[in-house]
Symmetry: C2
Subunit: 285 residues, 2 copies
Amino acid sequence: MNRRFKLTLHYDGGAFFGWQVQPGARTVQGELEAALSRLAARPVGVLGAGRTDRGVHATGQVASALMPGKWSAAEVRRALNAILPGDLWVAAAESVPLEFHARYDAQAREYEYRVGTAAESRSPFLRPYCWALGGRGAGSGGEGGLELDGGLLSAGAALLEGRHSFRAFAKAGQPGRGEECTVDLAWWEAWEAGPLFRIRANRFLHHMVRYLVGTLVEVARGRRPLEDVAGLLAGEPGLETSAPAPAEGLFLTRVYYPDTTTRRHDDATTGRLGTPANLDDDNVA
Amino acid sequence: MNRRFKLTLHYDGGAFFGWQVQPGARTVQGELEAALSRLAARPVGVLGAGRTDRGVHATGQVASALMPGKWSAAEVRRALNAILPGDLWVAAAESVPLEFHARYDAQAREYEYRVGTAAESRSPFLRPYCWALGGRGAGSGGEGGLELDGGLLSAGAALLEGRHSFRAFAKAGQPGRGEECTVDLAWWEAWEAGPLFRIRANRFLHHMVRYLVGTLVEVARGRRPLEDVAGLLAGEPGLETSAPAPAEGLFLTRVYYPDTTTRRHDDATTGRLGTPANLDDDNVA
């Protein structure tokens, strides 16, 4: 008998070449598959809810794997954490129905992006986890914070909510299997060294959050008009995004599933919900 | 003409063999001296307020160095941050009187120690910066936090304030040049994954904060009586501390100087304050 586990993962993306297995590169999926295979004493594959790019972090990535039935969720979690490297941690493990699929069953994903405007964003404790824009000034005493217009940040985020084509905010060369995304929530809040962008959507295109943040920050620095955000969403010809914000500020923080897909049950009445709207080339951040 | 600079430093101690220059080892002092020497195009020595051990972090270490007079404080800071490795950062640079001495002039030092009792203290974002005690439980869902008795932590900290011999809380084999320290402040507060110990004193003995935290945590886990703390301070025979808490939870957060030692002035009327009470073997954490 086999058992399906849902794993909630934290990882520091700094030393990974992203989520997805690649020959010769250290990846999150690769480390996780190696550890699970060692525990199961057989090859174990892992599916992730979203494929984070090189350097992107996670505090809520979700993965699923099929393990021998003798393992309990608590045992899987403990055993994994005992052998995984320090930059990858299993925050939670749950036993879920065998048909649970980490990517197809996901209803929404949430990311946060930390922008560092305070000089201290360049501290070794913060710089690996944000886009450090502060501290480039001429001040001798550690000053040199960057001012971003908070009103423009908020106004830009508000434009994103709802259903739009995010084609302009996707990495060029991405196969065009539909660029419509429904953004449930998008706002800016504060973290210790500047503003933090939080966005939840049913799906994300490749580099979408980084293009959004790169563009919103340029607007908030007064380097381009707010109207450009609406223009980009409307597909206005000739309009381009700003450069994408760097990977190190981006965190996959949560993946949402319908209760019924994760609740353990033995009558197998609950199948996958809906059709697999999340195709292979989506949800790469 | 030369100019003396006071540098306030942040460093992630994880990849350093401590503060002090050692042949063949990567140290904070070594990296800083190499960078300053490169900028000055001559050998530059650096003095630190306290010698942090291998693995100990800082968000307020202070160092002093003599540089060619053509450099301004702002230029030194910018140029250093451009060439220093990412785990060492100059938060501030100030021009100070030539006689300023980072160690002898320091009146007090402040450390914080982060204990991780929540399961999340084992996350890759927190574990390198705390003593991760949570998350060892059997829970499958990420639970497994450790309970510490907050009343006992507070009561233990309160015993430390004032002037005491901290001989029992110093690494064995340390030359006995007096073990009296005056603790101005000692308390526990909260950080995101558990309790945080903060202590300010005129001087610290080798490993003193780590022995204090190791012992107070054992008291708060109910493994030894609170009376042991008083007994250790009183030099009760046969009584020993608990094992020292690990280096990765410890941060040197601030060094205090009298205003007059750091204020720039050209009449050279203000010498070093008091006698050098901080001898060579002190203030190693």
